[in-house]
């Protein structure tokens, strides 16, 4: 039997969910028996492959790049999993939603007493007006709340999904867990 193709992507988040993924430690070796990590910030593949079985998404959709990425990933993934509070609910990245993008950029790059106050305008993707959780941009098949979800939760969710079952996580994790 061929191995399942699993990917992870990192949108607007702190990488904590990926750290939690790595915290599966020796269980990663067991997982490697049944799955291949075909795309991830943890490995070096340039383009997101076709026909991925499971993709874990860390982070909220904050920029034009995030939006393009998640649409492409959705189209190429069978089961899309929103991993962690940023992907599920916006969380800290969404705190800027109470303000206009111009105000946010101004506060970060222009207001402080800098030698050359300058807002980034080349080589960086423009911010979206509102930061959105993944399910408000594309269809999501499973949400895993938590900041970050523990390695145990991620392990349980991934192994269940690979076994063809939908895990019930309601008693295991919550927002902010």
């Amino acid at each position: 039997m061929s191995k399942a193709k699993v990917a992870t992507i990192w949108l607007d988040g702190c990488s904590g969910c990926h750290m939690s993924f790595l915290d599966m430690d020796e269980r990663l070796l067991e997982l490697a028996e049944v799955m291949d990590l075909v795309y991830s910030p943890l490995v070096d593949f340039k383009d997101f492959p076709e026909a991925v079985d499971v993709t874990l998404v860390e982070g909220a959709v904050s920029s034009e790049e995030d939006r393009e990425k998640i649409i492409k990933v959705r189209a190429r993934t069978r089961l899309l999993v929103a991993l962690g509070d940023c992907a599920v609910a916006g969380n800290v990245p969404a705190m800027r939603n109470a303000f206009k993008v111009k105000e946010v950029i101004g506060r970060a790059y222009l207001e402080d007493d800098l030698t050359h106050p300058q807002a980034p305008h080349i080589h960086v993707p423009p911010l979206l007006v509102k930061v959105k959780p993944v399910h408000q941009v594309v269809k999501v098949d499973l949400v895993i709340p938590g900041c970050p979800p523990s390695a145990n939760i991620i392990h349980y969710a991934v192994t269940e999904l690979l076994a063809g079952r939908t895990p019930d996580l309601s008693n295991l994790t919550r927002f902010g867990a």
Binding site: A82, D85, V88, A89, G90, N91, V92, A94, M95, N97, A98, F99, K130, P133, H135, Q136, V140, V143, P145, C147, L169, S170, N171, R174, F175, G176, A177
Partner: protein, 245 residues
């Protein structure tokens, strides 16, 4: 010593059914009280033992046979032969929707909140299986009042349960907290929408801090997850006062 008894007529005892179970209770008790006395779970948010119930949060909605509308169990009184249902797919759907709307309306970021892990709203979301919000978030900027020397009011986390308003009026008797505005513009305020730190009525008793279900009213200087609240004293005080008249 009390001069006159509160009521000449003792409350009647009625029999009713909750989830098919035969139950008897006093007619001045609420359906919520009776359910809890019989180990039947009904979720609540604005209810707090010791405070007057107002049916604001709509989490305790139940179905009553013969009534079209859902009824809030905290303010619903029993009557003879009443048949109440506390759990159904419809109720689960409504309760989840209520929690989603609360999350969509305020700015709740559990992970960085002082009340993370000790929050009634967060707990309700988990109990009711609300793991993502299907509505668009409101993301309305709200104010934070840090003018009080010991406490902070962060409106971003307020769910308008008015426990603070009720404990301040009913238990402390200070009437510092109030509600202003209508509908989506409703806000909890101190005095005449003045800074809390400059309040002439606040006694600094901290009862509002204790009863607030979320991280909206908290002690100053707490980090994420550090705000643990103890609320049992409200019911104890109330009972003690009723005993002593």
């Amino acid at each position: 010593m009390k001069a006159t008894p509160k009521s000449i007529n003792a409350p009647r005892v009625v029999t009713l059914k909750i989830n098919g179970q035969d139950i008897s209770g006093r007619e001045d008790e609420s359906i919520l009280d009776l359910a809890r006395e019989n180990n039947i779970f009904i979720p609540t948010l604005c209810h707090l033992d010791g405070l007057t119930d107002i049916g604001a949060c709509r989490l305790c909605l139940v179905e009553v046979q013969g009534m079209n509308k859902l009824q809030p169990a905290c303010v619903l009184r029993p009557s003879e032969g009443m048949e109440v249902n506390t759990d159904s797919p419809r109720l689960q759907r409504y309760r989840r929707m209520v929690i989603e709307m609360l999350f969509a309306e305020g700015n709740h970021m559990c992970s960085v909140c002082v009340s993370n892990g000790h929050c009634d709203l967060q707990a309700a979301a988990q109990i009711l299986g609300m793991d993502h919000v299907r509505l668009d978030y409101f993301s309305k900027p709200r104010t934070l009042d840090g003018s009080h020397p010991r406490f902070v009011f962060d409106e971003n986390r307020c769910i308008l349960c008015t426990r603070c308003v009720r404990v301040c009026a009913e238990v402390e008797g200070a009437f510092t907290w109030g509600v202003m505005g209508r509908g989506i513009d409703s806000r909890v305020i101190t005095d005449m929408d003045e800074r809390w730190g400059e309040s002439t009525t606040c006694t600094g008793c901290s009862k509002c801090v204790a009863v607030c279900p979320t991280g909206a009213i908290v002690d100053k200087g707490k980090g994420a997850s550090e705000m643990v609240k103890h609320r049992e004293f409200v019911a104890m005080l109330r009972e003690q006062r009723e005993r002593e008249g």
